[in-house]
Symmetry: C2
Subunit: 450 residues, 2 copies
């Protein structure tokens, strides 16, 4: 006879009770709770209370005991191109232009279609779920195909309605991209786990006229805007030559700066530009691995944080990372911000975790819904086991999350209260099928290898 | 009936045949072999040949099939303080002096004795073996206790005979440290897996007189010297104030620069100093995580490599890393060298692997014995599985080792032909015992937590 049977009249029935050794709420009080339980019903967090009390108050369809684990909000990858997962490691250690012209772009031209994007996005979802990522902010061709993979995996995503000027297999010109984007957007409307941003690729690939259209549509449809911004010095020089100003000034003059703008990278920023980002409430998706690997530079994270800019973290695509691993990305962000600012107090562990959770939720306009473990929020949560020798002893689970853990310590990933990944097993991804998918694409891509 | 039975008269009997999908030899030809086998007898690599051929020629006591794995030389951690493992994450995100004075040093004064060092070193060995490290270059108090843990774990180590001027529980003055070091050295003499360096801690803690003694003993006993050098700007300023010159110049004048010197960190180096390091054949143990985390700075790795200085990689201690994870350290070294030099061709994947294997072996004077998979060398080897979704697809196993893999993909670690770690299981470390050891020390250290 279980506790729930012995006094069932007095017990409240819920979907799940998750008992954890530690809960890092990432709420405004930055609480680290010990021996607490999270109560989940209808995809939502009903409460967080001491486990001893939870055992007296609740009966649950699923009761999970995580005696050696820390429970954290689901990680949010604020900038990625999920469907590049099948190009992971296809070319490295090359100058950017050689990498793009000789490897990445030819590979994309050869393989990218709806099927490729669906398959590659499913691989990306598998990788992300097993590493504790519950939501990602994407930009790629055929977003409806990414949506299909996201739907299968049971993740949350904000999908970019990608816009370019030049023709690809996907679309012929900016208007065609926009139209295809809106059709895609309609296809996932009503899905509670999916939202959209318009995603004009970058200032160097988008005309003023198209940016103006993007702005109009974003206002009309109440959508976010997701773009690359000030990633490289080349991009800035090119903008000077073509427009007589830096890309950010151009976006400012076009009226694109605002709290619905997520700017990926933000590596090269003048103090006045940091000021403007803060004033307009823009969000930066900091991508430290990609910035180092492609020699874009080191973003001025300490200065951005000092000025109060909302900085979150992205992996970028697997072709330039080569992981979609938010634990590893948080670690690098925290280390690099210290080394670059020469101040060891820069980007402490809890702040790195905020950047990958609540701050990213804010950047997506979802801070009321996800990003922390609080009553009323969606139950997007991750359990990380802190008992292996490599993470022992544990004096501070938040320090361990950032500096010590790897994604291998993630044991459970819930999205909207549903357990989507647990100890190597996915709820809706069949490993043998996904292996076959990877094996089918690999020979087609291999010829573009460095 | 097996192949070995069917034609046993024609077969050569060996200890082990390890079949691998890929073998990265890290020899002078930088060979990447596919479907090859490594033949091991009496701790030594007898040959590397196509698996089809190996099956015809050999019978083995142990025949290991690694169909999805890359086999690499054992990783060598060129700078660590293994016994700081029990202080992992005890204090982070603090300025160096506060970190040392308020947390690390009080903790060390309270707990460090022979038992602590033995126990903490065993935890470090467990972590390192499971992450593919077969050998480490250590510096800490009570090296005979570290040797005892290393002996139990069955690893290889070069142990520092630590020298300081000031009294600790371990020793009273420089002469006492030296004497205790030589006694320790004698205790592991004859052990084929252990070697020694004299380890004067750093120019800012060691007098000229003591450095002179260290030099004399190192020459007499044919030992290496392991020291910290140019880790921080403070250290350089202090040396200017006290000696009227930079630490490296002081070491040069004292005659300490030479091919038996391993200098940890080397963060702040003038072009002329890089020139001198190259000329004298000194070795740098680059510690990128620790240098970022403690805001020491970013070492000029591209310039060092350009000038031909032998640069290897160390994790430093777990109090400032907080991992003893050479895969993660190689990745950061490769990424950071690119970002700092703004040249994406800097420190390509194979070179990062060399730094953690053959170049580290050279730094320890062991390049004839370890550091590559070649006939006649000790069978220190690691298998890394490249079939998980997070490392799929695989176009280039060397790229994956550096940019994509985590230590969780290490499946087998051999030291001198003996399998010391395999899929979570250690040959000589009992997990429950080690857990109890950790649990016994944690409460004693907890009070020094940040």
């Amino acid at each position: 006879m279980t506790i729930s049977d012995s006094s069932s009249t007095a017990l409240t029935h819920v979907d799940a009770v998750i008992e954890a050794r530690w809960v890092v709420t990432v709420d405004s009080n930055k609480r680290l709770l010990e021996h607490h339980s999270v109560i989940v019903k209808d995809a939502v967090i009903m409460g967080v209370l001491p486990t001893a009390l939870a055992r007296l108050k609740y009966a649950a369809s699923s009761w999970v005991c995580l005696d050696e684990h820390v429970l954290i909000p689901g990680l949010i990858n604020l900038h990625t191109h999920a469907a590049m997962s099948l190009m992971r490691g296809i070319a490295d250690d090359l100058p950017l232009m050689q990498w793009l012209h000789e490897h990445l772009w030819p590979a994309e031209r050869a393989v990218v279609d709806r099927h490729y994007v669906k398959d590659a996005s499913l691989l990306a979802c598998a990788e992300m779920l097993s590493g504790g990522t519950t939501c990602f902010n994407d930009m790629y061709f055929y977003p409806e195909a990414t949506a299909s993979a996201v739907g299968q995996a049971g993740m949350r995503a904000n999908l970019g309605l990608t816009v370019l000027e030049f023709p690809t297999h996907y679309a012929s010109d900016a208007d065609d991209y926009l139209q295809k984007g809106f059709e895609a957007h309609d296809s996932w409307r009503g899905n509670a786990l999916m939202t959209s941003s318009i995603a004009p690729h970058a200032p160097y690939t988008i005309s003023n006229q198209t940016f103006e259209k993007v702005l109009t549509y974003a206002e009309q449809l109440d959508l976010g805007i997701h773009t690359h911004l000030h990633e490289t010095l080349d991009e800035i020089a090119q903008s000077h030559a073509q427009y007589g100003m830096r890309p950010m000034q151009r976006l400012a003059e076009l009226g694109l700066l605002g709290p619905n703008l997520v700017a990926a990278h933000g590596v090269h920023l003048l103090p006045a530009e940091i000021e403007i980002l803060a004033e307009f409430g823009c969000h930066i998706a900091h991508c430290p691995t990609s910035n180092l690997k492609l020699t874009s530079g080191i973003a001025p994270v300490a200065a951005l944080l000092d000025r109060g800019v909302n900085v979150s973290i992205g992996t970028d695509g697997a072709a330039s990372n080569n992981r979609l691993d938010m634990l590893s990305e948080m670690r690098l962000a925290a280390l690099l911000a210290k080394g670059a600012s020469m101040d060891a107090t820069t980007l402490p562990a809890h702040q790195a975790l905020e950047m990958a959770t609540i701050k990213a939720a804010k950047a997506l306009g979802l801070e009321e819904k996800i990003g922390s473990i609080e009553m009323g929020k969606q139950a997007d949560m991750v359990a990380v086991k802190l008992s292996d020798f490599a993470v022992s002893p544990c004096y501070d689970p938040v320090s361990h999350l950032i500096y010590t853990c790897g994604r291998e310590h993630v044991t459970h990933t819930w999205v909207a209260g549903s357990l989507r990944y647990c100890n190597g097993v996915y709820a809706n991804i069949e490993p043998i099928e996904l292996k076959e998918i990877i094996q089918a694409w690999q020979p087609k891509l291999k010829q573009y290898k460095h």
